[in-house]
Structure formats: structure tokens, C-alpha cells
């Protein structure tokens, strides 16, 4: 039965993981996402579903545990925040290179370096452009509410297994720490059968399964890379997710994801009260990026303003998507500062109405 609870975003992710029938969580504490590991330890999912939870010695070890478990065909997730996600990039490249499914949660904080423990969206490049070495992409989901934090865990596993690709839930310290009501899905059973490629012990009826990202033959390595790119094109064709608000008659378009998008919804209302016909496009998948709907809107509006809690990272993808059809500007705050709805309306005016 579905259940309504009041929870922190981080707790919702942890509870959603248990209910999604996850087989394991491997992680390492870091603010502002430590509640995920704390909740899982307190909930004893081993007793509830048999789910394994282990605190690793480092983020590096945790992501490699994810790699080991994912290779066995299991539903495995990990979570961290920006500096920890940087450490996980090695493992993510290997997981992507071995075409394994997993869910990685990044509750972003301000950087670079140790930065701040306050929310930010400055890991966009790292999330959508690869992050680790090699030509690979993560599927990136950007929730804007505690409800979506929970829902995207299950969706993440679905996409991860469908495409044999790591999925990142890119969220931030505001959503991780925020409490909201959340409908939790019914408990799903854990998987009993595993994909045919998984290393579960070679049986006499099949060849051995080898999980590796190594191919010393350049021709083969290029062939594999082309296959990966084909997968990413398929994702771009079939898995783009986005929402739009008041875009029907919009003259100015805000583009924002996650916490910023949530704030922009109020900015749209404020702008309209002032007589500025504003609308909002919210990418839900940051990779694959909603290029087509942006291109369509670019032909109708007079200007686009991206709002990000960063110096402007997604704005590059918006500019690429609209191919200079319309002026694209950026407004953002950094260092853990969250922009206000009023600031965003002002930025709209300053960029396009003066």
C-alpha cells in the first residue's frame, strides 16, 4: 500500500531505495547527504528486505563496491555530495565503460574544493558531460521536490537496467534537507533472476561472463565507443523528460532545473503580475537534454534566461540547443546562496526589458 509521510529529501531517497527492492547501498558520510546512510542504518533494511548496507572506507571504495554489486546484476546505489562525487568519478567511468546499471545520488554543495555545505548546482558539467575519463554519459535526473527525490530512485533503476547505464540523481542540499510530504510506493520485491550478462557464477550451460572495460584492440575499442554513442542517441530520442509552465503565450522563457526551477515557478507568477509574459521550461532529464522543446520555444519567445545556482553551466547546453535563434542569458548565485523569486524577475527585466 502507498504511504504518506513527512520526510527529509535524503530520508525519502533512502526509504524509496528500500521500497524499490534495492539489493545494496554502499556509501560514505558527507554533508549534506549523510542522512541517507544514517536512515538506512537505522531502518535495518537487511531485516526488512535483505538489502545490504555498508559504510565504506572512502567514496572511492564505495563506488567500486557499487561496481562489484552491479556486475552481479544487482540493484545497487550510492550517494554522496560534490567532493565525494569527484572521488567517485574513477568508478563511474569504469561502470559506464562496463555498461553496468546503478543509481548514484549527488546532493550537491558549493565548490570548488571543500567549498561550502550549502546547496549549489555547480556540478552540472561533471554530471552531464562525463566527469570521469572517456567518452561516456550518465543518465541524469533532476528532482525538484521530496516526492521526486523518492520517485526518481525507482525510475533511476528502471532506466539504469533498461539501458545498462549508470543513472545520477542530481539534486542539492536544499532538497536533501527540506521536509515535505511524500507518497511512498508499495514495497517491491527484490529481483530473483538476474540479467544474462551478470557475473553470478558460470554454469555449465553458458560461457563465462566477464565484466571489463578493457579492450587493447583499438579497432574493437572504437567499435565499443560507437556502440555507446548509439545508446546515448537512443536516450536522446526516447527518454527526454521535461515540464513546462505558462509557455503557451510566453514572451520570455526561464530555463531551470531542481531547486532553481521550483523558485522560478514563483518568478513566473510574479513576472506575470507585473505584465511580463514569462514561462518556464524545467528539464527533468539533464542528460538526455530537452533540446527539441527548447528549439520549438526558441522560435516563439523574445529571450531565454537560465537560472542556476552556479556561474552558468546549463546555459551552454541551452545555447547549443537553440542554435542562436534567440538571445540566451544567465542568472545565478553561488557559494550556497539560493536566488529569490524577485531577483530572478529583476534579472529578466535587466537582461531583456531595458
Amino acid at each position: 500500500m502507498k504511504e504518506l509521510k513527512l520526510m527529509k529529501g535524503n530520508e525519502a531517497i533512502a526509504e524509496a531505495a528500500i521500497r524499490a527492492g534495492a539489493d545494496a547501498y554502499f556509501g560514505y558520510p558527507i554533508t549534506p547527504q549523510s542522512e541517507i546512510l544514517e536512515y538506512l542504518m537505522a531502518e535495518k533494511p537487511h531485516e526488512r528486505t535483505g538489502m545490504v548496507v555498508l559504510q565504506a572506507e572512502s567514496e572511492v571504495a564505495a563506488i567500486n563496491m557499487v561496481y562489484g554489486g552491479a556486475a552481479c546484476g544487482r540493484k545497487v546505489l550510492t550517494s554522496s555530495s560534490s567532493p565525494g562525487i569527484s572521488l567517485k568519478q574513477e568508478g563511474l567511468s569504469y561502470i559506464a565503460g562496463s555498461e553496468l546499471p546503478c543509481v548514484v545520488v549527488n546532493v550537491v554543495r558549493g565548490g570548488p574544493g571543500l567549498g561550502t555545505i550549502q546547496p549549489a548546482q555547480s556540478d552540472y558539467f561533471q554530471a552531464v558531460k562525463g566527469g570521469g575519463h572517456g567518452d561516456y554519459r550518465l543518465i541524469v535526473l533532476a528532482p525538484q521536490s521530496v516526492q521526486e527525490m523518492a520517485d526518481f530512485v525507482d525510475l533511476g533503476f528502471e532506466l539504469a537496467f533498461k539501458y545498462r547505464n549508470p543513472v545520477m540523481i542530481l539534486t542539492d542540499g536544499a532538497l536533501g534537507q527540506m521536509m515535505e510530504k511524500v507518497w511512498l510506493q508499495e514495497q517491491k520485491p527484490r529481483m530473483k533472476t538476474f540479467p544474462e550478462w551478470a557475473t553470478t557464477g558460470k554454469t555449465p550451460d553458458r560461457e563465462r561472463n566477464v565484466i571489463t572495460s578493457l579492450d587493447l584492440d583499438s579497432a574493437e575499442q572504437e567499435k565499443f565507443n560507437l556502440k555507446l554513442q548509439e545508446k546515448y542517441r537512443k536516450l536522446e530520442a526516447e527518454e527526454v523528460r521535461f515540464e513546462h509552465t505558462e509557455t503557451e503565450d510566453a514572451e520570455y522563457l526561464l530555463v531551470a532545473y531542481g531547486t532553481s526551477a521550483r523558485i522560478c515557478q514563483k518568478s513566473v507568477r510574479l513576472a506575470r503580475e507585473k505584465g511580463i509574459k514569462a514561462g518556464l521550461l524545467r528539464p527533468v532529464t539533464l542528460f538526455p537534454f530537452p533540446k527539441k522543446p527548447l528549439m520549438e520555444l526558441a522560435g516563439k519567445v523574445k529571450g531565454i534566461l537560465t537560472v542556476e545556482m552556479s556561474t552558468g553551466q546549463m546555459v551552454e547546453d541551452v545555447r547549443l540547443a537553440v542554435e542562436c535563434k534567440v538571445q540566451v542569458e544567465h542568472y545565478g548565485r553561488m557559494g550556497g546562496i539560493i536566488p529569490t523569486p524577485e531577483e530572478i524577475v529583476d534579472a529578466l527585466g535587466n537582461n531583456f526589458l531595458k
Partner: protein
């Protein structure tokens, strides 16, 4: 023996005393002639066959010379990033506790880049086996200094010999992890003579048996040679190994049944 006796006259079922284990594939190994990796692979494969656990065994291969181990063992295997094999094996074992899980790692992998993963998997007492091939050098990358390179030993990055003042001391990883409560069985073996090969096989078998009994972590170090990296012939390398490596890395058991072996 008659001059025209061919090999086929000799190789007959009734004359066979030894056959290749079916757990080894027919692929030709890429290792340099005289290298210990081939022997170590064979011993692991033989133990898997002897214990009839081919379907229940999962291996984790390292980065380095043995990166292609999965081409030679007919079992499910995963290739780990450099040094991360113990973390990978931890997850496999936690998710499939009834399977036999082992890592196979060189000294660069286990004692340098993967020190943290090694020590913590040992300290947690993961119920896995770690096979540690120590040849005192980075083989695959062309003979650079390893943490296990002996004092005064030459390598491509210590061309005048390892200067411990400048480059630090050689590291006895096996003695180090033996101190940790999570390790159940820690031993150092070699594969350079028929007698030592038999002893090493017994140790490898013990490491798998310990998993069956869920005793905790077994680490079997095998001090081996690197003819190419040491720039010696196989025979010279084995001689040099016995004379120089064994005094610093003495073969023998270090921890048995969770207790350190007290040397008289």
C-alpha cells in the same frame, strides 16, 4: 629408445600423470617465459577443479600484468580499477555470501594505489581470498619501483637502486595485514621450485576452504620473479629471488587460524 619413437607413442592415457585442468581455458597466456603468474593461475584453477566449485567461484582481476586473467580462467570474472579489487570483492561477497570470491593482485595494485582498500577489506574480515603476487616491481608498465622494491634494488624509476632515505622503505604488506583482527589466514609462498609449487597450492586451497567455513579473510602472498623487469633470464631471476627477496620476504605462514605464528 628407438630413434623413430614419436611424441604420440609417449603421450598415451596410461602414461599420463598430469593434465591441464578444465578450469583453465585453451588461450595461450601472454606472460613472459619463466614468470610466476602462469603457475599461480594454474594452481588457483586446479584448486577450483579439485573442490568442484567452478560454478560457485567469482574472481576479481587487477590492473597490471594479470589484467587479462579472465582470458585464462573459465569462471565468471570482473576486472577492477587499479587497486580497487578488495572493494569490488567485498560487494560481490556481501551480495552472494555463498559464493567463493577471490582477488588476484600485484604489488603495485595491492600495496600502493590500493593500500586503503586492502587494509579495510582485511580489517572488516571480509570472507574472501586475496592472492598477492609480489615481484618487487611494476611489471606491465615496464619495471618501475613498487612499494615492495628492495632497498638498493634497481628499477626504471630507481635506476641507481632504491635509496630508502629518498624513496622510502620497502613495505611488508603481508606482515602488516596479519596484525589486523579481520585476517584469519596470512601466508607467504613461492612458485619457483616443484616443492614450493605444491606448498603454494596447499595454501591456495586453504584460502578457499576458509571461505567455506566463513572464517574471514585469507591472504596468500606469492613472492615471484619478473624476468623482464629485473632484466634477467628465468633461471637467473629465480636464483636472484631466492638470494635477495627471501631474506626480506621470508616464505612461510604468518597467521594461522586467526593467530600470529610465533617464530622460535
Amino acid at each position: 629408445m628407438a630413434e623413430n619413437t614419436g611424441i604420440k607413442d609417449i603421450v598415451k592415457d596410461e602414461n599420463l600423470v598430469y593434465q591441464k585442468t578444465s578450469v583453465l581455458t585453451d588461450n595461450v597466456m601472454h606472460y613472459c617465459p619463466g614468470c610466476g603468474h602462469g603457475t599461480a593461475h594454474r594452481l588457483i584453477a586446479e584448486v577450483i577443479e579439485d573442490m568442484d566449485i567452478q560454478s560457485d567461484t567469482l574472481g576479481v582481476t587487477p590492473v597490471g600484468c594479470a589484467v587479462l586473467m579472465y582470458n585464462y580462467l573459465d569462471i565468471d570474472m570482473q576486472e577492477a580499477a587499479h587497486g580497487r579489487a578488495p572493494a569490488v570483492a567485498t560487494a560481490i561477497k556481501r551480495l552472494m555470501p555463498d559464493k567463493y570470491v577471490f582477488t588476484y593482485q600485484g604489488d603495485g595494485d595491492l600495496a600502493a594505489i590500493g593500500t586503503a582498500e586492502t587494509i579495510h577489506a582485511c580489517n572488516r574480515g571480509e570472507n574472501i581470498a586475496i592472492f598477492f603476487i609480489n615481484n618487487g616491481i611494476y611489471g606491465m608498465t615496464g619495471g618501475q619501483m613498487a612499494p615492495t622494491t628492495l632497498s638498493g634494488m634497481k628499477s626504471s624509476t630507481s635506476p641507481y637502486g632504491r635509496d630508502v632515505q629518498m624513496m622510502g622503505n620497502p613495505m611488508k604488506m603481508t606482515e602488516l595485514v596479519a596484525q589486523l583482527p579481520g585476517t584469519w589466514y596470512v601466508t607467504r609462498q613461492t612458485v619457483h621450485t616443484p616443492a614450493s609449487v605444491r606448498k603454494a597450492k596447499k595454501a591456495i586451497r586453504q584460502a578457499f576452504e576458509n571461505q567455506k567455513l566463513k572464517k574471514g579473510l585469507s591472504l596468500v602472498e606469492i613472492v615471484s620473479n619478473c624476468n623482464s623487469g629485473w632484466k634477467m633470464s628465468p633461471v637467473e631471476a629465480n636464483k636472484w629471488m631466492a638470494e635477495n627477496m627471501f631474506p626480506f620476504y621470508p616464505p612461510g605462514d604468518i597467521k594461522l587460524e586467526g593467530k600470529l605464528v610465533v617464530k622460535e
